[in-house]
């Protein structure tokens, strides 16, 4: 292949869809590295602290679209303090300097301020698409800046962000000459938007295909909008989620009618106690037998049995994402009183393409043995209140060759497991452990052995500065976040984060 002119190699690389493939070819030889880096348009950074923004942009001068992720996943559940980090500004600033041709920006779990959005809006003349997922730190003022200055904006997609409502009519800031919108999603906003402004915006954007409104939009308005946007493909009025009050019977109805169903999410309506109508293993079994195409599941319930999971595994071997949350920690199979090891074992054995798994219920080390044995494609594993000993975690680290993200809370895994195979963590994006048995000494040992990992301890007790001197190595660490990086320890860590 090195005999081909670079243009040919580049053309071949154009057929490579995924970042991983492009990453792979760039390691073959210097020539390929060179060709690949100059031709890469879409850059994905899974952990904003794994590499400095300037370095990314120096490597990929042709970058047109950038996607960056910040906080660890458990930040969604308030396990990560507010000011932990994940700031968008360094990335935006670097792009302003080195990639002024930037067209698309996607940020997930990052802190984005109104000033950041203002800078973004004014700096990239070709800017087309802004997607913010689970971000915070900005208000409707920032959105106003985007609307005002991003002429030619095609996509503004706000998913599950915490947006402060400053009452500004940001939607009115879209200029009359802005006709380019293809996708607009403001479902997560709490404030109202002017109905007339929205209708006029929709009317003048002939390419609008996807529109997701928030709950403040009235039904009358909806009528007007739909009338003006006949080419809409995707219309939403806030998130539609199945609440478990539809009960097992409701799920049976879904199972009998929605044969093409691929993804299902069932949330609990009452997290403080099992309601009269909630879902159990029966609902899940019904779904699995009625919807064979199901490949992605998020299911909250009050109980689950091994038998049900075994049945589900048999009915739906195509799961790629399986997240089961039994609301009571450590709850066993109510029929047999056994742990759910066998049930989850069946899932991983049967679903050969499983990439993401979340466990719950009473679980011993055995389930981890199964996961290590069978879940060869597993990339992300979430564990809570499970396991008996270090062996559990070791099974996972040994067996799951493709593991990228491991997040653990409230499990009896300690230093022995943590230090069993330290090189493993460089093959992964990150490891989160909270309320486990790892000690400060164990974390220090890990940090000492692996200089290309950042071992961060989050210490939230008061009097933090003094504590560092007095704390013994035997002290159990409350929250630990380990990730591979070529950027060294970060310089924006708040006081309560110690990088060892």
């Amino acid at each position: 292949m090195t005999y081909f002119p670079e243009e040919v190699v580049e053309h071949i690389f154009d057929f490579l869809g995924s970042h991983r493939d492009r990453n792979a070819v760039s390691t073959v030889c210097k020539a390929w590295y060179h060709v690949e880096r100059l031709s890469r348009l879409n850059v994905f950074v899974g952990n904003c602290y794994a590499i400095r923004p300037e370095r990314v942009m120096a490597r990929f001068p042709g970058m047109k679209s950038l996607s960056v992720k910040g906080k660890p996943h458990f930040a969604d559940y308030n396990l990560v303090p507010y000011d932990w980090g994940g700031f968008a500004l360094p990335w935006i600033k670097a792009a302003v300097r080195r990639s002024p041709g930037l067209e698309d920006l996607r940020l997930k779990r990052m802190v984005v301020t109104d000033d950041d959005l203002d800078l973004l809006a004014r700096s990239f003349p070709n800017f087309r698409s802004l997607v913010l997922v689970s971000c915070e730190g900005f208000s409707t003022d920032g959105l106003a800046a985007i609307a005002t200055y991003c002429r030619g904006l095609r996509e503004l997609d706000l998913q599950e962000n915490e947006v402060e409502d400053h009452g500004r009519q940001w939607l009115s800031c879209f200029h009359e000459s802005c006709t380019s919108l293809v996708s607009l999603n403001f479902a997560c906003l709490k404030g109202e938007v002017n109905a007339g402004v929205l209708e006029r915006l929709v009317a003048r954007c002939p390419n609008l295909r996807s529109l997701k409104l928030n709950r403040a939009v009235s039904v009358e308005s909806l009528n007007e909008i739909v009338a003006r946007a006949p080419y809409l493909v995707d219309l939403g009025t806030g998130s539609f989620a199945v609440l478990d009050c539809i009960g097992d019977k409701g799920l049976a109805v879904v199972a009998s009618t929605c044969k093409e169903l691929q993804e299902l999410r069932v949330f609990p309506s009452d997290i403080y106690g099992a309601g009269a109508t909630s879902v159990t293993e029966e609902g899940l079994v019904a779904i699995s037998s009625g919807c064979p195409k199901l490949n992605s599941l998020l299911y909250f319930c009050y109980q689950m049995t091994n038998a049900a999971l075994i049945t589900v595994a048999k009915n739906c071997p195509h799961f790629t994402r399986f997240r089961l949350c039994i609301l009571d920690p450590w709850k066993p199979d109510p029929v047999t009183n056994q742990p759910l090891d066998e049930g989850f074992g069946a899932i991983v054995r049967s679903c050969k393409n499983l990439r993401r798994l979340s466990l719950s219920g009473l679980l011993t080390d055995q389930v981890f043995l199964y996961i290590g044995l069978y879940a060869k494609c597993l990339e992300m594993l979430s564990i809570a209140f499970a396991g008996d000993s270090d062996k559990g975690m070791v099974y996972i680290l040994k067996g799951c060759k493709n593991l990228r993200k491991l997040e653990i809370r409230d499990c009896p895994f300690g230093d022995i497991a943590l230090l069993n195979d330290v090189a493993k963590y460089e093959t992964m994006r990150s490891l989160w452990m909270s309320s486990c048995d790892v000690t400060l000494g164990g974390c220090k040992a890990l940090a000492a052995k692996m200089p290309r990992l950042n071992v961060e301890i989050i210490n939230e007790s008061e009097g933090t500065d003094k504590l560092e001197e007095n704390i013994s190595d035997l002290h159990k660490v409350e929250k630990m976040y380990v990730y591979r990086t070529v950027a060294g320890p970060r310089n924006d860590a708040p006081d309560f984060v110690w990088t060892l």
């Binding site: 507010y82 106690g273 949350c325 209140f385 309320s435």
Partner: protein, 308 residues
Amino acid sequence: MSPPLEHDYIGLSELHSPAAAVGGGGAEDGALNLKDTELRLGLPGSDSSDRKDKVALTLGLLPKIFVSGAKRGFSDTIDGAGKWGLAAGGGGSEVEAGKSCALFSPRGERGGGGHGNAGNDAVGKAVGHERKDTGQVGDSAGNDRGVAPAAKAQVVGWPPIRSYRKNTMATNPSKNKEDANGKQGLGCLYVKVSMDGAPYLRKVDLKTYSNYKEFSLALEKMFSGFTIGQCGSHGIPGRDGLSESRLMDFLSGSEYVLTYEDRDGDWMLVGDVPWEMFTDSCRRLRIMKGSDAIGLAPRAMEKCRNRN
């Protein structure tokens, strides 16, 4: 004859309250000491004023963490909440987060992988059917990281649901209405605090404070970083002791005023109404520049008058 010993409802008796036992001196001579009939939790002989600190030692089910819950108005929770004692303290504040997480960790007593009875008992204890089980005391008194308290809703980050989703769930209709801007669970009330000019907002749990003084201290800590330059890095120098509204003083020394948005959507000056009334009606807070705050105080008094 000494009056019969009063037992509080978990079966602990008051051994000797100084005034009760023998009808000791003072105004309580011969009269029934009402303290004895008060519903409260505490070590025998403990004074009601100390009950906040002592409770956790008595009940094995209450984890150690709640000993430090003095700020949380534990006594208020007992009086106010239907769920005795176990409702104390939301699991949400950042300081407590780590600790309350720890309490849910299963430890040695579960040994054997939880098969059969051992597992079942552990689960029974851990999950804790708090609606039925008022009698069990001290099952795991010896294990400070062991049995989870029955109020499972207080484990930080569990169940793993985004908070905005929790807010939209109908646990009960009236609760939902109050939730509009605050995240409210058992015993916690989070509201946003913004400060003009600060790059990001904070959230505080109003239920963790029992008066304006504590609250102002906490806010001061949180936001002092942003006012370096107005008052100097250590706030107002030379101030010793705690004044009633230290934050007011701190703020009045600078250009900022602490205000809150109430249920009606009006912006009010903090400090005019009694603390409980404030926490009931406060939906969010804003530390605003003094120049914007002119005219707030009179409205606050008017509202107070209208309510009473």
